[in-house]
Symmetry: C2
Subunit: 731 residues, 2 copies
């Protein structure tokens, strides 16, 4: 029987979806402005939908193939849990749905934001932020809804028992596999969207700004609509799928760790499993409260707005600290205070990473100003200092995560290093703590591209300069708050990946039992019942230690995968941008009167080209991310897979921080010059920083964010394929 506490979880998820609907309706009530504004909004909307349609076709084929493979593994080879094919599909479906709803709202909101910005900064903020909130609430609502439905259904087949912990382990590890569906969908969305948006952006800028000398977002540039579509498919739909995956991944991994840590104490086990879900559920309510707190007086200054946004996030975060203490006590969790300590550790880690991100990428601080100043000696020094500072900027986030790992482990385990099960549960729940207020942090993240698009609409519709200035202010504001969101996303990815490593071992255990291996023999001849073996026993059994050359090989390949993946996506952006350059040049050449503004460019063709380019280019890196863990599992076995995952995690995490921060800093260094420093717009310093910004585009919007997903997707693939590894590995 599920306890009555369980029902809080689906209830909160439905509340989230209800408020998302309410905010959506609120936004839709506003006017889209002039005919020209509407027309542009329709262009962007249609382009974005055309892209998503194409994307979902490709992804649909992929999901079909994978489902057939999983069914074969589950029903024919019998090395797989029979629920996996279904769980996999729903994970992918809901992740895609979250991106779809978020994007739909965003494309309806941009013209409305521009129109509201005509009135006041505050009016613009309200529309943009409420639209962002739709996205935030849809992501957490659908995520938690999917989790509760699966939990309920699986409980029918494997009833949770107060006396035997086995079923709850089965339930939680099965649910983990829906994480793989979400991860795969997220990777396609991030990589495809990232390539689309940067191909359009870079390609459009290269011909438009540099060759033809027309400003950004000028309606004469054929790539302009594609650029705006890109913001929606990359920064909104891509980010939505990404964070859906992070959110569900951290909750599911923690639930699985809880089920395993309390395997022999079934009465505690259920509570440990639903604790992360409850924290997430309460986090939803607190996020909604926070969203309502984001309001300010008319004619507010930029600083007022920033304070208003910060107040919303801070109050939500503060409340979750209080409420999670209440939750762990109400659940009467073992070492409740310690678990609460882990949750708070997670939150603090996220905040530190966010602050560090802000310090290294905001032009209010010296690192970005230093990059801007190095433009005095040209583009080369802008690139060198951007890369250098990006590399240095990895130190604080890594140290924050390191302290986060140690403290959450120690708190949850009661400062007992041997209590690995509880310690790992602590690491998982720290990630949940970090993401518990995702509803509002994602709102502040998603509203940036909406404001950006509103600016594009204002420019193309010929609204006054003051409108553009206001949307720019909203955009800049979003960049600052988004830094915190990014910190939470990156930090939670690292912690979740660690938790997934532990879940991998749990899956192996189940795989071994499924093929009938009830006893494992450790290195020095000690025999242990498989069902009772600890994580350390499995490390011993599979020789997953650092002097095993197979582990070291795995680590080398994992590190290489992170770089190879980034290299492939960077090159993909380059190739797709090249196609866009050719198309824009062709239109300038063949369609008379574009540059004079007497005839309209063929926007749709540019969208189509970016769409096709992104679809083709996203295949190879994505397939690689899925195939490599499978191959390593079969060829090198468990030790190789663990090495691969850890190598990819270590290198990928640091590389992701480096790329995100370098990219962000270059972007803001350019903005710093554009604000009038070092000669301002059009100066040689400006040109040098524009080059830095262009290099930074694929860093921060394609390769960098995709790495977070890569790390987790590889872990998820390993988890789902563990049955295959156990049954067929050559080692």
């Amino acid at each position: 029987m599920l306890s009555e506490l369980f029902w809080i979880i689906p209830l909160c998820s439905i509340i989230a979806l209800g408020f998302a609907w309410f905010f959506f309706k609120q936004v839709m009530k506003e006017s889209e402005g002039t005919d020209q504004m509407k027309k542009i909004a329709v262009y962007v909307r249609n382009g974005a939908m055309a892209y998503l349609k194409q994307q979902y076709k490709v992804v649909g084929v992929f999901f079909l193939i994978m489902t057939v493979i999983f069914s074969f593994m589950a029903y024919y080879l019998e090395v797989q849990n029979p629920w996996v094919p279904f769980a996999f599909i729903t994970g992918g479906f809901f992740s895609g749905l979250a991106g779809f709803f978020g994007m739909k709202t965003a494309t309806y909101a941009s013209a409305r934001t521009a129109n509201a910005a005509k009135k006041s900064l505050n009016a613009g903020l309200k529309i943009a932020f409420r639209s962002g909130a739709v996205m935030g609430l849809v992501v957490v609502g659908l995520g938690l809804f999917d989790i509760s439905v699966w939990f309920y259904v699986l409980n029918i087949f494997y009833p949770v028992s107060q006396t035997d912990g086995h079923n709850l382990v089965i339930i939680t590890t099965t649910m983990l596999t829906f994480g793989m569906g979400a991860s795969a969908q997220a990777l396609f969305a991030r990589v495809g969207g990232g390539i689309f948006t940067k191909a359009a952006d870079v390609g459009g800028d290269l011909v438009g700004k540099i060759e033809a000398g027309i400003p950004e977002d000028d309606p004469r540039n054929p790539a302009t609509i594609a650029d705006n579509v890109g913001d929606n498919v990359g920064d909104v739909a891509g980010m939505g799928a990404d964070l859906y995956e992070s959110y569900c991944g951290s909750i599911l991994a923690t639930a699985a760790l809880g089920a395993s840590a309390f395997y022999s104490a079934p009465s505690m086990q259920f509570r440990a499993v639903i604790a992360p879900m409850l924290i997430a559920a309460v986090g939803i309510i607190l996020s909604i409260i926070g969203i309502f707190l984001v309001r300010t007086k008319e004619n507010a200054t930029q600083k007022d707005l920033l304070n208003s946004l910060a107040r919303g996030i801070n109050i939500s975060s503060f409340l979750i600290v209080i409420f999670s203490l209440a939750i762990v006590y109400l659940l009467e969790l073992e070492n409740a205070l310690g678990v609460w300590g882990a949750i708070v550790t997670g939150l603090v880690t996220g905040i530190i990473i966010g602050k560090a991100t802000e310090y290294y990428t905001s032009h209010s601080y010296s690192p970005t100003q230093h990059i801007a100043k190095s433009s005095k000696t040209g583009a080369a020094t802008v690139i060198i200092s951007g890369l250098g500072i990006g590399m240095i900027s990895t130190a604080i986030p890594v140290l924050a995560v390191v302290f986060g790992i140690v403290l959450s482990f120690l708190f949850a385990s009661g400062f007992d290093f041997a209590n690995v099960g509880m310690g790992l549960y602590g690491i998982g729940i720290a990630a949940v703590g970090m993401l518990s207020t995702l509803g509002i942090t994602l709102a502040t993240d998603a509203y940036g591209p909406i404001a950006d698009n509103a600016g594009g609409n204002a420019e193309m519709s010929g609204l006054g300069d003051y409108v553009r200035k206001r949307t720019d202010a909203l955009d800049a504001l979003g960049n600052t708050t988004a830094a915190t969101g990014k910190g939470f996303a990156i930090g939670s990815a690292a912690l979740t990946a660690l938790a997934l490593l532990a879940s991998y071992i749990e899956e192996l255990k189940i795989g071994l039992l499924r093929i009938g291996q009830d006893i494992i023999t450790l290195g020095n001849g000690v025999e242990i019942e498989t069902a009772k073996a600890t994580l350390t026993d499995f490390m011993n059994y599979y020789e997953v230690h650092l002097m095993n050359p197979i582990v070291l090989i795995g680590i080398f390949i994992g590190s290489m995968m992170a770089f190879l993946f980034c290299g492939l996506t960077m090159q993909a952006v380059g190739r797709a941008a090249q196609k866009m350059v050719d198309e824009v040049r062709r239109q300038f050449r063949e369609i008379k009167g574009i540059l004079e503004g007497t005839s309209e460019p063929d926007y749709a063709r540019c969208v189509e080209i970016s769409t096709k380019g992104a679809q083709i280019e996203m295949i190879l890196p994505s397939i690689l991310a899925i195939l490599v863990p499978v191959l390593i599992g079969i060829i090198l076995g468990v030790a190789g897979v663990m090495g691969l995952l850890v190598g990819a995690l270590g290198t990928g995490f640091v590389l992701a921080v480096f790329m995100a921060n370098s990219g962000g800093a270059w972007d803001n260094a350019k903005k710093y010059v554009e604000e009038g420093h070092l000669g301002g717009k059009g100066s040689s310093c400006h040109k040098a920083t524009v080059i830095g910004d262009t290099v930074g585009d694929p860093f921060k919007d394609t390769s960098g964010p995709s790495l977070n997903i890569l790390i987790k997707l590889m872990s998820m693939v390993a988890i789902v394929m563990s049955g295959l590894t156990v049954a067929f590995s050559l080692m």
Copy 2:
């Protein structure tokens, strides 16, 4: 008693030094050319010596402090082998000496090469290559000499016995610590030299080429001499110290692994220990033969020269394959054929990495041409494609090393994964095989900067264009052959670092015995005699498995260290270059008539500025590399240190390949344009590729190569400090 076979080793080292002296005399016999050529050569020579003097002062202070610390640890705390302070000093001393002799020769050779190039390409090649050979032979000669002397001396105190393997373990692990001296010296030389050369190069180019519009190596540019000095201190002295360290490190690590693998078979043990030294000794003779084979007819074409160089290297490599088979059979090594297989695996791995490096960085192949072509859309796309291709280019070297590890392990262990001792010995001896013909491969590497400097001298002395063309041809030739050398250096670094990991465990064992812990208790209560514990037992004892959060934390920090170190060195180049820019601008402003050629710039001041900049900037990254392993050892213990080393190895290796290849490809993309493609010199494509080349400078000559040393230095520090870790670790 040392077997008579031992004496081959010092004998060959003395032969190497004899031939180095012979080649040096041969070079010195040639004329330095006109007065102007002599004058320029003197400037460069004095500048280089002034730099080295300053560098050795700083390094001397560092060595003094470290020796005091080691003495304190050895004689007061008694947690350290009493020979360490002395071994540490000689390692550093000989490494510095190798760099010093190589640089001295190079600075004498450049004017002579330019003068000979007036006659013919072949005459120029002969001087430059013979000077490079001095460097190659000095490095291997001094390295092997140092090793044999220490072996002889330690054998007096701890006589090698046919019945007890203990003394040989003591000897080989003690000798390993002289590797730390060599590594520390190499890091200072590479980082300091790398910062010097790139500060002068980038700073000089920025003002001279871009602002004042005067060509490269123009005597009117005050930074010109500093730039040429930089080639000598960075590419010659830095590389010499670097490869001295790789060479000795691989031999010593393999000897230590041999002593440990055959601990209980003392009759085989001595032979396993001297096998790597004998292979190196025979490799010296084969290198000398190869050097003599590098000659060609007068008026040879570029292709003839390339064939001639390649013939020298190929024949040496082929002969070492034959001779090493003879050595392992003469020694009657256990599984002789398998050990030979490991040696050949090492050589093949090096060749594959070299070929991959050539493919990705030579403008005869599509990747570099692709980078050049992306200059059509500006500097940003040159940078993006260079970074993208550099990242992708990591795949083949990593896979080559992975296969090299697996095959050398399997061959040497007789395809028995449980035979870890022999398997690791195989990995070590594969690295020795790779570096056995270092005498000649280093000659082809070191002659490049000599030819480069000869070109500078020709330009500044106003020799005809045909001379410059010939020196450029020699330089280009060097780039191609140097790719192979780089492959060997990178591959051997990865393999040696792995071997050092195993040696670290050996040192821990000795440390435990020293503090009287004769029994270790494994995880499941099994007690084992410390002296008889296997590597796997130690992994179990210290819980160095991938579910231990301490190991994972170590890996995170290790990955971060690689990035942080690169970031710091990149920023250091930026800052030092900025100082150079300011100085060159000041001279143009204050010294009248420089640009008209009527008065001479103050070259010495520029050298001084670069020297000071490099000395200040090299401290922080170097100290970090030494302090972090010590701190991690004390705070996180053995599991943390192993994690740190593996994280730094995995990430650092891939990052080093990426940076070296991106840098090399940008350099050659620029050369491709300069050869007349895409508009040639002065075109917009050329300008874009010059920016790429400038970004690539610190990639390939400062940060990238320093990473190889960082990885090994951290391992060496861990090894030397293991006594401290064992005695005082908090975990």
